[in-house]
Symmetry: C2
Subunit: 236 residues, 2 copies
Amino acid sequence: MDQSALLSAHARVRSSKLQKGRDVVISGSHNDCVYLNHDGWLARYKILHKGSRQIIDFILPGEVFGLPACLFQRALYSVATITDATVSTIPLDMIDNVFEKDPALAKTLFWSIAHEAAILGEHLIDAGRRSAYERVAHLLLELFVRLKRVRLTGERTFSIPLTQELIADALGLTTVHVNRTLRALRDDKLIAMDGRSIVIVDFEALSLLSDFEKSYLSELYGDPAQGARAKRSILS
Amino acid sequence: MDQSALLSAHARVRSSKLQKGRDVVISGSHNDCVYLNHDGWLARYKILHKGSRQIIDFILPGEVFGLPACLFQRALYSVATITDATVSTIPLDMIDNVFEKDPALAKTLFWSIAHEAAILGEHLIDAGRRSAYERVAHLLLELFVRLKRVRLTGERTFSIPLTQELIADALGLTTVHVNRTLRALRDDKLIAMDGRSIVIVDFEALSLLSDFEKSYLSELYGDPAQGARAKRSILS
DNA sequence: CGTTCATTTGAATCTAGTCAATTCAGGTGG
DNA sequence: CCACCTGAATTGACTAGATTCAAATGAACG
């Protein structure tokens, strides 16, 4: 996401610190702000009538959220903090006028949704056509690559603040089965774990078995963030 | 979708008739056109290495497709016709410039993706947290409502050109199980079927059991198509 | 009328869920 | 410093929903 377009274009930005476990967007209520998550983790989710929860996606440090909620009269999903987080709030009234008045902002919002839709598509494949083993592998790789882009990983290691219950709700599994699956991945020497830090032991094998292709996480055409990344990698 | 913005803004529109079973967008290759589907059904899908297929969504008459594919260097998913279809092709070079040069078109494209992301989210919940019975119910209601908006249904009846295999691939099930599930829905007097035409016998019950809320299919804020629908309903 | 593709049904199997108990880690208060 | 509490992780035994395999029926088409 091109954060500069968001932040600079609008003076009325508020920043605030949030504790973990707080709802930021509430499903069913109206929402007219987008948010920039600086340093925490959040989850976008929905609860069904029988009580089960589906997590639509995780929102990592540096990512924008709350946009889809702005587009509907009532937000379809809730967004809650998983960890403490500092979040900037950007009022976005009259979204309908953004296209005429602020093309740069419009472009940023556009790529933000496009990016999100791509991730959703892959999550749908997770739940629809991958086994538990494949799903967990795929999720770990996705998180690893997304975190790597914002320099929050080691070479092969990273740490996630997710409970097995959160992973289960993101993948359409149960806690118990996620636990067993993680154990299987460890036994097979594809990953290693120590508490909540994870080592990708065999990236190649994990990619193959879970049909992971990171192109859906990047390769966006004309994405302003692309340029930023390109520049960065030239410099470093 | 606001088709007029798409069609009028660009002179170089080609219309063509396609037979069923043809790929229009091919996963992995570059794509720089958006398409307007006039009268057929299409499916956006991906094949995994083990051979299984996940259908991401169906593209109904009047809907736009191929946009997400434009945004990536290589299309993430393929799109194929399920029935014969007439399709308009709209070249979309320099998508990066659209925001400055053609705000109306940009707005249309934006709502198109937003709409699609909302549907994807609901499909994710289908596959992740609904039973087979709930999934099939939910899909039928979704298709019914989407078709109703373009006046392609009766009061409670509609017809779909989908094989049970296509339904299975969209919902993350097997053909056999879709068959049994449809039977169960009939036995429970929630739907009726005659060949490929379907009667929604008990809309209310189906909605409740599958957590169907049609708001994700409409209620878009500032969606140009909203205005069009409103106008239409005033006239009729 | 035979071919092909889709639907339907039965039987056996398996993946993932359910239920329940135990262990573990972090945080609290005495 | 230790007993206690709580939430998360683990593990086992059993169940159930969905898949797999296989075969029969039906419908559309040349």
